[in-house]
């Protein structure tokens, strides 16, 4: 997985050269190359390889997913949104470059994501490229990340139902993980049935990712997490442990792992090993 992350980092580095106007490209690179875990790109490539494609087919889509993810972090961190000063242990984009440049860096990364897939995907039929672009597009807007963020902002300081909590997480987190798996499968040459089976896997791990995040926030120290622990509780944010209790939240996480594994049952077990491993990694991660 570390090797895959390095390949992704190399491709991202090449996708945003440091050209004129310097400042905007610097800002894009600052956030894009800040060393995240590259969860979405790795998932995209693993899904492509599972259905018989090679890494190169999925790499532009993998990079696009990271660009979209980074855009959403830059914009969510803005003073008019979550007003965060730190991200991945470094000052946030607007702290370094100013709010105007941070807004623009997000915009540029978002459009580059689509351009990059359209321009640089090779040896994949244009039909599939168009399908992947439609999938990517639906993860961002009023049925994706933006919908999740709007409902999240509206929910702060309010009593939130389990269904609203799930709506937020599905849209803010799970949809992009789903797109990662689905786009990887599309680029790798999967038939429609395999794409939908992998979508089921992706939906389960998408929700799992957030449930585990919520559990870690109440069970770990800031030192163990590498970010402020107990932040959700302090800010009175709705979380799974808060709404279900910690034991039920852990049971729910275990159930989601089972569901994810069921989604993989139709595939060759050896080839699917990275995706099984991935579900397990998310379920057992400690930070």
């Amino acid at each position: 997985m570390i090797n895959k992350a390095n390949q992704v980092n190399k491709a991202l580095d090449e996708a945003v050269p440091l050209q004129h106007p310097q400042k905007i490209n610097e800002a894009m690179r600052y956030s894009l190359l800040a060393g995240g875990k590259r969860v979405r790109p790795i998932l995209c490539i693993a899904s492509c390889e599972l259905v018989g494609g090679d890494e190169g087919l999925a790499m532009p889509a993998a990079c696009a997913l990271e660009m979209i993810h980074t855009m959403s972090l830059i914009h969510d961190d803005l003073p008019c949104m979550d007003n965060d000063d730190l991200r991945r242990g470094k000052p946030t984009s607007h702290k370094i470059f100013g709010e105007d440049t941070a807004v623009l860096a997000g915009d540029a990364l978002l459009s580059l994501a689509f351009e990059h897939v359209a321009r640089n995907t090779k040896n994949v039929s244009s039909d599939r490229v168009v399908q992947a672009i439609a999938e990517l597009g639906s993860t961002v807007g009023s049925k994706g990340l933006v919908a999740g963020q709007i409902v999240d902002i509206d929910s702060e300081g309010k009593e939130v139902s389990l269904s609203t909590l799930e709506y937020i997480h599905v849209h803010k987190t799970a949809k992009l993980l789903e797109a990662a798996v689905v786009c990887g499968a599309i680029m790798g040459g999967a038939d429609a049935t395999s794409v939908e089976r992998l979508r089921k896997y992706a939906r389960s791990i998408g929700l799992l990712f957030q449930v585990v995040d919520d559990i870690l926030d109440v069970t770990k120290s800031s030192e163990e997490l590498g970010k402020t622990a107990g932040k959700d509780l302090a800010s009175d944010k709705a979380t799974y442990p808060k709404l279900m209790g910690i034991d039920e939240a852990k049971k729910f996480a275990a159930q989601l792992v089972d569901e994810a594994n069921q989604g993989l049952a139709f595939f060759d077990h050896v080839k699917a090993a990275p995706l099984y491993h991935f579900a397990n990694y998310i379920a057992t991660r400690q930070n």
Copy 2:
């Protein structure tokens, strides 16, 4: 042209239904359906028809151009950018919905632009759809609108050369008009030579558009323009009238009309009538 604009308005209305979460879709619709002149969509459709395609082939791309244009207006108007209260005679997005929603509405419109072309373009080969998406993408990011806006922001209050001014306008205005013409031609089935000839036309009217805008800013009232007049002068912004004088700016505009017409010379004159008319319309518009 009014008929075309109505068709575009109808398509835009359908492209952003008022669904859950209501607030983000309201914000997207508020700016998108605020009654602009639909210059870019009409240009896209006219270009498609010139090369023998029908309106329907270009309509999703035409809508995408308006979504991208609207996104750039919403974000440029933000307090951290140009801090504008009025746009098309109405309060700007952040004045009505708040800064957070305005940022998100722009993000959602930008991603919807690409998704809409990918999902709703019919009877055009996927090869052409991918080509159009790449063209659209390059108009936004660090080689397009964002590049223009960054250099524009950096230039405020400074002495600006004519070449910097041109860089700003080419990127902030002309590139999107160019994409309108080029995407229309691609969707309409044009060969590569015709696409490049139309690109020449588009570059001239792109610059023309901005020169006329600058002239109107110093010669018209806010009421006539539907936006704050004299703002460029007040903010000490570089404009063509400021750098060349008003008479030279008008001569430059006339020269750009000639260049645009030359770009059309290879096409059937009757079929090209709407694009000739368009150059003339831009040159003589009063708001």
